[in-house]
């Protein structure tokens, strides 16, 4: 077994503090890899590598059908087969709507005339930056593209198991989220002590239990008088709360400026290093 572990960081919805935790944890550790898998709204780069757009990129491609009009007999089998309405037959010509195409390849299989071939189209990109102690990868979905899963799959091929791996996963409970956390050793769920936070936390936990993923909870914007909202629930369910990041105007201000709080607030480096060690022990036990 590798010495280090891989962690995925997740929240029920955006704006909960997932990015804050992922970035600060990565910066507090050494020999670490941070993968931003929130491919629709990758934000980690703002704190880690603001110039990422000028760094090396790698395309993630998908296949799109192309119809050879000379061979096509307008039989319409492809149009009728497509579950996504990505093909239409207009005046005996097949139109392809690339954005709705799911790249399933079905039209090519059903075409009796061999009139359909496939071409590659860029779905998204991976970007990479190497900092002294931190290997940073970001997945990014091109605008007008919807399918995040293949970008996340490709991003995960960059995982280096000799390093501590942190995956900032997309929020919510949909397929891209599940893809991002699958195969990670442990998941951290970030929530906040409010009825909204509790509600979204429950949704996420339902999903994590379904896929049998080990996890623990971090309370962001924690406050003595309201943490019970989350604590009571976690105690009842036997869920561990492994960290509280306090409600602090300072942290919110730093965030708005794109400054990681470990750089400005004392003691957090050690606290986050300790957090990793605790999770590591917990994960290796399982």
């Amino acid at each position: 077994m590798a010495e280090e572990i891989s962690l995925s960081i997740l929240s029920g919805k955006g704006g909960t503090g997932k990015t804050t935790l992922a970035v600060n944890l990565a910066l507090a550790l050494e020999n670490v890899q941070l993968l931003d898998a929130d491919v629709e709204e990758p934000n980690d780069y703002l704190f880690i590598s603001p110039e990422i757009e000028s760094k090396e990129t790698e395309s993630v491609m998908r296949l799109i059908p192309e119809v050879n009009d000379d061979k096509c007999t307008a039989c319409r089998k492809c149009v009728d087969f497509c579950e996504y309405n990505a093909l239409a037959m207009m005046l005996d010509n097949v139109l392809v709507f690339e954005e709705v195409c799911h790249s399933c390849g079905g039209c090519k299989i059903v075409c009796p005339e061999d009139a359909i071939t496939e071409k590659e189209k860029e779905l998204g990109k991976l970007r990479h930056d190497s900092l002294s102690n931190l290997d940073f990868w970001q997945g990014e979905l091109n605008t007008k593209e919807e399918k995040a899963v293949p970008v996340i799959e490709k991003l995960k091929t960059k995982i280096d198991r000799d390093k501590k791996v942190i995956i900032d996963s997309p929020p919510g409970t949909t397929c891209p989220t599940i893809e991002a956390i699958t195969d990670t050793d442990f998941t951290i769920v970030v929530t906040e002590p409010s009825p909204f936070g509790l509600h979204d936390l429950k949704m996420v936990i339902e999903m994590l239990n379904e896929i049998e993923q080990p996890f623990a909870v971090v309370i962001n914007r924690a406050e003595a008088d309201s943490d019970y909202l989350i604590e009571d629930y976690c105690q009842e369910e036997g869920i561990k709360i492994i960290l509280k990041i306090p409600f602090s105007r300072k942290i919110a201000e730093l965030y708005s400026e794109g400054i990681p709080f470990v750089d400005k607030l004392e003691g957090w480096d050690e606290k986050l290093q300790q957090l990793y060690q605790e999770i590591r022990e917990e994960a290796l036990k399982q």
Binding site: G14, T16, V149, G172, S194, D225
Partner: protein, 287 residues
């Protein structure tokens, strides 16, 4: 009858909190929660559900093991890794419903069946009727479910002769947001003064512009970064979008939310701000 949709682009800007507080100040309304990924509005409005309906989304592959001859064609042709290599079982969470496996199966062992993707609720809150929905985990965000919530809200509004429909829109800039805005008379954009908040505001505004409907901006927690707030104000002035209000980073708002209460009930100054928003919205819609 006028329909207002509240959107934000980025998550966590306070869109839902704003919507709930505005709802309490509008008379004779129907509320719709189109944030079907993370529906939270009911936590502040505490509606009582009156009826619910199962929402069926896409079809998924279902295999009959008795007919399967283990030929492996389904596995070879599936582009989504949705079929296990060992025993050709379908992984529901991976299946995209394309039907290729059902097509290539020589023994008709695989059928496509509609599956439940969520639940649609009709409810009664102290401010009026409310329509909301919940997706099951692993189900994909669907513009179809958003449209369903909106259709139901607008039917209810017509039946009961309402003056307002207030929609808590979906986050992001994709299909669900477009479905949230379709048919609305006005868009309210709730933003916050962060780099990502401002960037998302501009992106979501592009979507709003295509609908040729008026828009208003709310800057939440404006005093967290007055520099970026000023930029947002300048942007609003340039684009001729009305600035509806600036809400401070406030203890009262945080505390109200934690108790599941409305901040307009706990702070006179904030209440006045929200009443001004209501006046401004009414005025924009009268034009």
């Amino acid at each position: 009858m006028k329909e207002i949709t509240v959107i934000s682009g980025k998550g966590g800007t306070g869109k839902t909190t704003f919507t709930a507080n505005l709802a309490s100040l509008l008379d004779n309304l129907v509320v719709g929660d189109c944030d079907v990924d993370a529906p939270n509005l009911h936590l502040l409005l505490n509606p009582e559900n009156k009826s619910e309906a199962v929402f069926k989304g896409m079809k998924l592959a279902v295999k009959n093991d008795d007919l399967c001859i283990d030929c492996g064609l389904c596995y070879e042709n599936c582009r989504f890794n949705a079929i296990t290599a060992a025993d050709y079982q379908i992984k529901n969470l991976k299946c995209e419903g394309c039907a290729v496996c059902a097509y290539v199966c020589p023994t008709d062992a695989i059928k496509m069946e509609e599956t439940e993707t969520g639940t649609l609720y009709e409810a009664e809150s102290r401010f009026g009727e409310m329509v909301h929905a919940k997706l099951i985990p692993g189900a994909d965000t669907s513009g179809k479910l958003v449209s369903e919530v909106k259709n139901r809200a607008s039917e209810l509004a017509k039946e009961k002769n309402k003056d307002w429909i207030l929609i808590d829109g979906s986050p992001g800039i994709g299909c669900p947001v477009i479905a949230s805005l379709t048919g609305s008379d006005l868009a309210v954009l709730v933003t916050e003064p962060t780099m990502s908040g401002f960037a998302d505001l501009k992106r979501v505004m592009e979507v709003v512009n295509h609908f040729k409907i008026p828009a208003g901006i709310v800057i939440n927690k404006y005093d967290l970064n007055e520099n970026i707030s000023a930029k947002i104000e300048a942007y609003a002035a340039e684009e001729k979008i009305e600035l509806l209000t600036k809400i401070p980073y406030s203890r009262v708002i945080v505390d109200s939310l934690k108790k599941g209460e409305l901040f307009v009930d706990n702070d006179a100054e904030l209440r006045t701000k929200m009443l001004t928003v209501k006046e401004k919205l009414t005025k924009i819609l009268e034009k």
